[in-house]
Amino acid sequence: MIRVIFATAFAVVAALPAQAAVQIQELTSPGGIRAWLVEEHSLPFTALEIRFEGGTSLDAPGKRGATLLMTSLLEEGAGKMTSQDFATAREALAADLSFDAGDDAVTISAQMLTENRDQVVALLKSALTEPRFDQDAIDRVRAQIESIIRQDETDPSAIAGRTFDYLAFGDHPYGSSKYGTLESLAGLTRDDLVAAKAATMSRDRISVAAVGDIDAATLGKIIDDLLGSLPAKGAAMPPHAMLGLTGGVTVSDFDSPQSVVNFGQAGIRRDDPDFFAAYVLNHVLGGDGFSARLMDEVREKRGLTYGIGSYLVPVNLAETWQGSFSSANEKVAEAIAVTRKVWADVAANGVTEKELEAAKTYLTGSYPLRFDGNGRIADILVGMMAEGLPASYVNDRNSYVEAVTLDDVKRVAKRLMTPDALRFVVVGKPVGLETTN
């Protein structure tokens, strides 16, 4: 019943030698759940990643924060165990279990020793299938989340993020905080949490990856045991978000010596044929490291910031191209002007041959470096599954980067970059900047 396809990983660019293989086994459990596995028996533990697509964007109307509160409560008591019992059992087994919820997914990460794997799986199963949602746990965790919400109200980075998200996505779930508001959180009941679990944790949206000291047959059994009794179908996915961003500046007054800036414009879908050209383009513009244009112009040449970067953000229901930095209140207007100028220059002229080659060498050479630990590999694999990418992608990915030409980058820069439509959200006491429409 277990179908195994081997995909050996990354033979890399000509400049680098062939890399050692990460052998991905694609398997379907006896119960019909797909999973990817990399066996790595040199250390006696396994990393397991489970991802349910949908996440906090599936919060029901008026119930903002329900998915996150629910996810946080999965480890706060299950079956016959109270919160204390559950934590005590997990610690006695020396297992790492973490539960999180983001805009696009509920994720569960587990690390378990081989010597007590069955017991850890039983513990995890009870959290996934019979969480108690006891009232005292709800109240305690809700108070912790309320504290986070209050802190975010006076945190300039959080204000900048929230303001940008609202301008970009309005009333779509992406436009507000996954923690909810003090009001929405106060109204959540145990029934809402049960409903949020049924909406977000179902078998029709699971991705599973395991890396470590485990074989395919054992993993298949574990997956069925863990996930087989979850509901077959969850809530309908929310619609694609309409992007409401317009060009200009939004200033949010905040008493601090430095202004925090988030900026952005429309982006590109992950499955767009031009995605890799855009990805390479963004690396030259504002990617990691010190050599990107924005870092060079804003930090290295002018000392206007400690760091600036830009990133394509293709999430499930929206595509944006964002960036951020912080700059002293007296300097932030200049930093924004330089950023705009760099953006406009690249939009009009693309990048140089030398920049393109350096970007391609970096992106292809650094790709294999990501695969350097069981947990990190499992995380990458589950992300690929969720994107709908084939296991062979780990072999082919660098060839997509390699195939990008200077003309592609120029064309995509012209197609996508809209310097006049960049919106800058500035939180601080910026000198010489005011909100524009």
Binding site: T154, S326, A328, Y362, G365
Partner: protein, 450 residues
């Protein structure tokens, strides 16, 4: 899963070395210590160079120079143009960065294993051949001031932490922030940077760590080729900083800031660090921190304050014994809504008194030991973290043997050891207590926090 207001518990992370046998070490004639950590699972290597010089080794008046020089190390040599160091690493598919602390300054690159020679050549080159042009250092000074703005001055928690630390260390330079006091940073010069560089950046003050898919013989050959010819520095004296006088009076501080939404109380006690061949007390304190605050659900403070009494939203305990001189044992409690800082502090002190009298519950003690043993296995999954652990140890006065013996020393800690360490360290006369409050709060209540 919750963001807390203070660094997440360091206690358990401090445990565990690599399996013996995978670590090889040798010294070059010029004094450079080399450590090789093998991990052949992926064709990746990390090079780290650690200097036994951090901000606590600075002369008075030039605070921040250790960190400033760290930035300037990317400004080029005779053979590498300004800014090209990182570009060359990136053009070979690698990434690089650097960090500065009180006790050390470190530089690292992660890159495909067959590119090791390139980064060893470049790192050795800048150990002795740095060039600093007029423009470069002035622009970079603006960058570190922006870094201070971002890290410290924009964050009331960071400001208060800096102030508390200054009160904790009256005489020892650990009381001065690594990034520097602003007015001293503004006055730093090219000459200050060069003085620092010429004194400390030399093979006899450095530890080279190569971790990943490498063989010790190959590393030795490359190290001889590139680091071997470098001249040692003559100017490195004994590493002796001014020590703390006996603390005879409790220190209490409060800080109000309109940006504070969640008040909290902190307590830090002066505490001994891990010493070469003498790590038992530090091990007991590590276990004590894990017992008090290592779990957000079952640790003693969490259980008492969050679950039983319901007076706190979070409770924290932390101790990192990897330090050249005396360090701190830290506690913090964020009160639940409606609970005053005074009551939260009182409840925290009552828990401490109880632990000092009755010790740690036996089952909990056993669970902590189990977790520390498991941590040894999980830690093997990240060779870069292992490299960091050795680098930190070797620049804070410990030896490779100390690192390798540490898990066994932790495992051997008894209840009596913990009680003795607690009795010695948890003394309010040797502590700084801090109250972090929103603007407008009075010292006795948090009811005005909205």
């Amino acid at each position: 899963m919750f963001r807390v207001l203070w660094p997440i518990a360091l206690a358990l992370c401090a445990a565990a070395p690599a399996m013996a046998g995978e670590v090889t070490s040798f010294d070059l004639k010029n004094g450079l210590k080399v450590v090789v950590i093998e991990d052949h699972r992926a064709p990746v290597v990390t090079q780290m160079v650690w200097y036994r010089a951090g901000s606590a080794d600075e002369k008075p008046g030039v605070s921040g120079i250790a960190h400033f020089l760290e930035h300037l190390m990317f400004k080029g040599t005779d053979t590498v143009a300004p800014g090209d160091f990182s570009k060359l690493v990136e053009a070979n598919g690698g990434s690089d960065n650097a960090f500065t602390s009180w006790d050390y300054t470190g530089y690292f690159q992660r890159i495909a294993a067959d590119r090791l020679e390139l980064v060893m050549k470049m790192e050795a080159d800048r150990m002795r051949n740095l060039k600093l042009s007029e423009d470069d250092w002035k622009t970079e000074l603006q960058v570190i001031i922006e870094e201070r703005n971002q890290r410290t001055d924009s964050d009331p928690g960071a400001i208060f932490s800096e102030q508390r630390r200054a009160a904790q260390f009256l005489n020892h330079p650990y009381g001065t922030p690594v990034i520097g006091w602003r007015q001293e940073m503004e006055g730093l010069t090219r000459q200050d940077a060069l003085d620092w560089y010429r004194t400390y950046y030399a093979p006899n003050d450095a530890v080279l760590i190569i971790a990943g898919d490498v063989m010790p013989d190959k590393v030795k050959a490359l190290a001889e080729t590139y680091y071997g010819p470098l001249a040692p520095s003559e100017g490195i004296g004994e590493r002796k900083r001014p020590q703390e006088p006996a603390q005879l009076s409790e220190r209490r501080m409060s800080f109000k800031d309109p940006r504070v939404a969640q008040p909290y109380v902190t307590r830090s006690y002066l505490a001994p660090e891990r010493d070469a061949g003498d790590q038992k007390k530090a091990a007991a304190l590590t276990i004590l921190a894990a017992a008090l605050g290592g779990s957000s659900q079952t640790s003693i403070l969490a259980k008492a304050l969050q679950f039983d009494q319901k007076v706190a939203l979070y409770a924290y305990a932390g101790y990192d014994g990897t330090s050249y001189d005396d360090t701190t044992f830290d506690l913090a409690v964020a009160p639940a809504p409606g609970v005053s800082l005074a009551d939260a502090e009182k409840a925290m002190d009552a828990v401490l008194a109880d632990v000092m009298k009755n010790g740690i519950p036996a089952e909990q003690f056993a669970r902590i030991k189990t977790q520390i043993r498991a941590e040894n296995i999980y830690a093997e999954d990240s060779v870069a973290s292992l490299a960091r652990r050795y680098g930190e140890a070797l620049t804070t006065g410990l030896t490779i043997a100390d690192v390798q013996e540490w898990p066994a020393i932790l495992d051997a800690v008894t209840q009596e050891d913990v009680l003795a360490a607690a009795a010695e360290v948890l003394d309010r006369r040797r502590a700084v207590t801090g109250w972090m409050m929103p603007e407008g709060a009075t010292d006795n209540t948090t009811e005005l926090m909205q």
